[in-house]
């Protein structure tokens, strides 16, 4: 998540120099090891898990440049260079996959990014404490519904014959659109249901930023005769801009990371032309069809493009607002 990252400032804080200058380097290292051995024991399990399950697969990325050989393991196959990347780029599905992935995630960002901000500003304006609490409790709730249940919910509610939304649409004369099986409706349904589910939860971070606004600012705005709307515009909004920028950079860094689970679960034969994205393709090619090297190459390609977007957005933000991830 966003704000966890600016580690550096905290860590680089002054450490008390316990080892005296008269001690030689070696013996001070030894003594600190002796002093801290319990700390090492406590952190070792976590380090081990991270090394095994995060770093070994990173080392295994070279599979994308090699053939996979069952007998020789992950990194023993013949070196193939960029062969598998070329195979992907020349694939007839390449254009569709890229388009679908970018369309779904850009739509999610463009519509999904402002939603929690607006929601937070509205919640922040509710003056009755009890109603505010109820509203917050309600809007956070859908976040905890699992993706599977969420898609199941869409299936039953949007079903054109039996679902309540399907019936409602028929009622107002919009009938006969199968929201689940049409190529036109897939992206809107995906994005809107995503906003429905996560908008509330994502607003928490903005509410936190809003709650830290100095109350004196509101008082002085009032004295200056600012209307409620002007208070939002000139006090609330500037207070959450840094949060907005950081979150926006991070979401751009995920531009090719459509949520695998939801897309995968929402796929069906009818909407496949617009719903096949890189993540689901990697799964199908790799796990189902066992073309390990090829799908590893596609996965790496995806990661690299994301990283380029992240760097690019970070650079732009740094240039124009002096706010950046690092």
């Amino acid at each position: 998540m966003a704000f966890s990252n600016p580690e550096t400032k905290k860590i680089s804080g002054n450490m008390p120099s316990i080892s005296g200058a008269q001690l030689s380097r070696k013996s001070s290292k030894l003594s600190s090891l002796k002093r801290d051995y319990q700390l090492w024991i406590m952190i070792m399990p976590a380090i081990a898990v991270i090394i095994i399950f995060n770093y070994i697969p990173m080392y295994g990325i070279q599979l994308a440049f090699r053939d996979f050989d069952f007998t020789k393991g992950l990194t023993g196959g013949q070196w193939r260079g960029f062969y598998y990347f070329e195979q992907f780029i020349n694939n007839y599905q390449f254009k569709d996959l890229m388009t679908n992935t970018v369309v779904i995630s850009l739509a999610s960002i463009i519509l999904g990014f402002p939603a929690p901000i607006i929601l937070a500003l509205i919640i922040n304006q509710v003056i009755w404490k009890r109603s505010k609490k109820t509203l917050q409790t309600t809007v956070y709730l859908p976040h905890f519904i699992s993706t599977v249940v969420m898609v199941g919910l869409l299936n039953v509610l949007l079903s054109p014959n039996t679902g309540i939304v399907g019936l409602l649409m028929k009622h107002i004369g919009l009938g006969d659109i199968d929201l689940l099986g049409s190529t036109k409706a897939f992206v809107p349904v995906y994005v809107i249901s995503d906003i429905w589910q996560h908008c509330g939860w994502n607003s928490i971070i903005y509410l936190a930023a809003l709650s830290s606004v100095d109350p004196q600012l509101y008082d002085s705005a009032k004295i200056d005769g600012a209307s409620r709307w002007q208070t939002i515009r000139y006090v609330d909004l500037p207070a959450i801009v840094p949060t907005m920028i950081i979150l926006f950079i991070l979401s751009m860094g995920n531009v090719l990371n459509t949520g695998f689970e939801k897309v995968f679960l929402m796929q069906n034969a009818l909407n496949l032309p617009v719903s096949e994205v890189i993540a689901t393709y990697v799964y199908k090619i790799g796990i189902i069809s066992n073309q390990f090297s090829y799908s590893a190459a596609i996965g790496l390609f995806n990661t690299l493009i994301n990283f380029v977007f992240l760097l690019g957005m970070n650079f732009i933000a740094k240039r124009f607002s002096n706010i950046s991830l690092w």
């Binding site: 991270i50 509205i122 699992s146 199941g152 679960l265 990697v282 990283f307």
Partner: protein, 299 residues
């Protein structure tokens, strides 16, 4: 009601009215679908499928729940998910809390480097295929351990916990304890943990919800149906439409008829599978919020 109190300009009153209307709309849009699932699950399926059930349950029927009780798949999934969730959350905390404590100690020299190693994994990963092949090499596929150990340290949760330790356990406390001959083990177990119930609840609940809702692990690493977690069973019922364990839920000549009953079962399944989270949710809500705040405001 402060709404009509004096000293407010007309424009402020309009503003409040607009906020009020917007809030009500948002509330209805979020809450109604959830409410509808509840009333639909206890109503007559014919009335539901023809759109006659909108505000209150009609033609009370527990058909969906009865079907679920007969369906062994759900109970196997439930059992598996409870095991994975309880054991998994325990392992998560066992690995995360001590590590967070260590990283919160100023005198621990390696902490900067170790933190860097952890944070890198938030931005880079090996991707699906190398990870999958690793699990295969470790013989973890098709075992329950793949739900427990891989990725049991979530770096985001680690940072939340570490930040909490840093801010709420004064340095002097350890120094004083150390004078009395207290080791790190003792200090962690007897002082740090008891003082950190809030953050342990937050992080524990994050992990717990993660395990409960985990679909991906079962999908990729598990072939044996008796090991599948609830979410995979739910996928089969809700999304793949295999509602009745004996046969398909729809299709054929009786498609429409069967679909109606299938939907009834689906509403009930949604309730039954989400119930545990819905029950604890109101009590833990404030903790979730706290977690986001600790994780975000710092930094």
């Amino acid at each position: 009601m402060r709404f009509f109190s004096k000293g407010k300009t007309a424009s402020d009153m309009i503003f409040d009215a607009v906020i009020f209307i917007l809030s009500v709309c948002i509330f209805v849009v979020i809450a109604y679908p959830l409410y509808f699932v509840i009333i639909a699950s206890v109503s007559d399926s014919t009335l539901v499928s023809t759109g006659q059930v909108t505000l209150i349950p009609k033609g009370f029927s527990l058909f969906g729940y009865q079907e679920i009780f007969k369906d062994s798949r759900i109970w196997i999934g439930y059992k598996n998910t409870i095991i994975y969730t309880v054991l998994g959350t325990f392992i998560n905390l066992l690995f995360t809390l001590p590590a967070a404590y260590v990283l919160s100690r100023q005198e621990f020299k390696a902490r900067r480097f170790i933190m860097f190693i952890f944070i890198v994994t938030m931005f880079f990963n090996g991707g699906l295929i190398p990870t999958y092949l690793l699990m295969k090499d470790l013989h973890m596929t098709n075992t329950m351990w793949v739900f427990i150990f891989p990725f049991c340290v979530n770096v985001f949760n680690l940072i939340i916990t570490r930040t909490f330790f840093e801010n709420s356990i004064p340095k002097e406390l350890f120094e004083a304890a150390q004078m009395d001959g207290c080791t790190h083990f003792q200090f962690f177990g007897k002082v740090a943990l008891p003082l950190s119930k809030a953050v342990i609840s937050v992080v524990g609940l994050y992990y717990l919800v993660g395990h409960w809702n985990d679909f991906f692990t079962g999908l990729v690493y598990i072939r044996d149906y008796s090991l599948q977690p609830l979410q995979i069973v739910l996928r089969d019922i809700l999304v793949s439409n295999q509602v009745f364990s004996e046969g398909a839920g729809s299709g054929g000549a009786a498609g429409g008829y069967a679909q109606r009953y299938a939907d009834q079962v689906k509403y009930a399944v949604i309730i039954v599978s989400t119930l545990p989270i819905l029950i604890v949710y109101p009590f833990i809500q404030k903790y979730f919020e706290k977690g986001v705040m600790i994780g975000s405001v710092k930094g």
